[in-house]
């Protein structure tokens, strides 16, 4: 039997979420819930003072997933990415006293994408598998930086003093890590 790859799993998850969005399919949602609930709860627990709060924030996240499932667009990215952004925004609301300003694609002053949807869809299908492999292959020091950035809600200057390295080193390691990830998914980088 062939081992299920990260890419296969991502495709299954996308099908489940589309079923939730289009048909309010509770069995599909249960399967999504049983996969993501422990992950989202662990993500919340990184900042929550007790497990009860982590559980509540996980429940809020998954209710949002249920309510907003119809707005999920599989061509735009993986389910894990979509759920991550929902969990992240709820975590900011819960633990930070400030807003996270975001752009609004419906704004007339917004500059629309130049890429055709077909290109994006092609990328999104393979992205999970490629990113997963590339992250696993990162040197430990770069992987540590990503973990601290995504889980601990710390600014890069705080991370720098915690790891006892200069801020410039944090920035250059992040750059190195992202150059590798970009190369792995065949994205053009080197914007700046």
């Amino acid at each position: 039997m062939r081992r299920q790859t990260q890419g296969d799993k991502a495709r299954d998850m996308a099908q489940l979420l589309v079923a939730v969005g289009s048909a309010r399919d509770i069995e599909a949602f249960e399967e999504l819930f049983r996969h993501f609930a422990p992950r989202v709860r662990a993500y919340m627990a990184r900042l929550a003072s007790d497990s009860q709060l982590a559980e509540e924030l996980m429940q809020e996240t998954m209710i949002s997933v249920w309510n907003r499932a119809a707005s999920y667009d599989a061509s735009r990215g993986a389910v894990s990415t979509w759920i991550f952004t929902i969990a992240r925004n709820l975590r900011i609301d819960a633990f930070r006293r400030e807003n996270r300003p975001a752009f609004d694609p419906a704004d007339p002053a917004f500059a629309p994408d130049e890429v055709s949807p077909a290109d994006v869809e092609h990328d999104a299908r393979q992205l999970s598998e490629q990113l997963h492999r590339a992250i696993s292959a990162l040197p430990e020091e770069q992987a540590t930086l990503l973990r601290l950035s995504f889980f601990e809600d710390q600014s890069h200057s705080v991370i720098a003093s915690r790891l006892n390295i200069p801020l410039g080193t944090v920035k250059s390691r992040m750059r190195l890590a992202f150059d590798k990830l970009r190369a792995a998914i065949g994205a053009s980088g080197d914007l700046s």
């Binding site: 952004t85 975590r91 300003p101 992250i135 995504f150 809600d153 750059r175 992202f178 914007l191």
Partner: protein
């Protein structure tokens, strides 16, 4: 419109992770509104966030959690997806994009500028973070950016007109990311006034005590 000066990876990752202070995030998000290329980079960074989420898990049983979720679903059965809100009618292309327009309290033609002297104007922008100082600046054509000293990082996002710094031109959508080690002197180009969003480290953090003592007098 071709944007040539983009957001660095470390800012993008912090923004994607949700750990970037509000002031910096305002400059990043406003640049993203104008820059499809950086939005692609953001979706990569958020994809990394999704993959990182996959690596987590706690070992608590999910049955109780699912039972209470199942109960909530029967209560909220008909809560449909809220339609995306219509864009503010005052907006126009070439003006201030969101989220900046809401923070500034209006578009370019309705802003209430305060004089800084020598033909320069500014509008302080309030955020809830204590890490940054945020304001809009209007620099008269051909003039340097006034009172230009900063101890830490400074992000400058051009919204209208352009400026030249270290032999590079920064036009609408371009973002300059300067740190304390960079000696620079942005000068607005001659054709038009330059309007930009400037975000700096909050001054108290980095300045010497003597400057700190003078700050109330200087109003900076």
């Amino acid at each position: 419109m071709t944007i040539r000066h983009h957001i660095s990876d470390d800012l993008l990752v912090s923004y994607a992770a949700g750990s970037l202070a509000e002031g910096w995030s305002l400059a990043v998000a406003t640049h993203l509104a104008l820059c499809p290329a950086c939005r692609r980079q953001l979706s990569i960074a958020e994809g990394v966030g999704g993959q990182m989420l996959e690596t987590l898990a706690d070992d608590r049983a999910s049955d109780d959690s699912w039972a209470s979720m199942r109960n909530r679903l029967s209560e909220v059965q008909d809560s449909s997806v809220p339609a995306s809100k219509p864009a503010a009618s005052s907006a126009r292309s070439g003006g201030l994009p969101e989220p900046l327009r809401s923070y500034a309290g209006g578009d370019l033609d309705t802003l209430k500028w305060r004089s800084l002297g020598r033909g320069a104007y500014h509008i302080p922008i309030r955020t809830a973070d204590r890490e940054t100082k945020v304001r809009l600046l209007r620099i008269p054509a051909g003039q340097p950016v006034p009172e230009h000293s900063h101890g830490g990082r400074e992000l400058t996002l051009v919204l209208s007109g352009s400026f030249v710094d270290s032999q590079s031109v920064f036009a609408r959508g371009d973002i300059e990311d300067a740190d304390a080690s960079l000696t620079h002197q942005p000068i607005a180009t001659a054709e038009a006034d330059c309007i930009c969003l400037a975000v700096t480290d909050a001054p108290l953090k980095f300045r010497s005590w003597i400057v700190r003592a003078m700050q109330p007098m200087l109003g900076i």
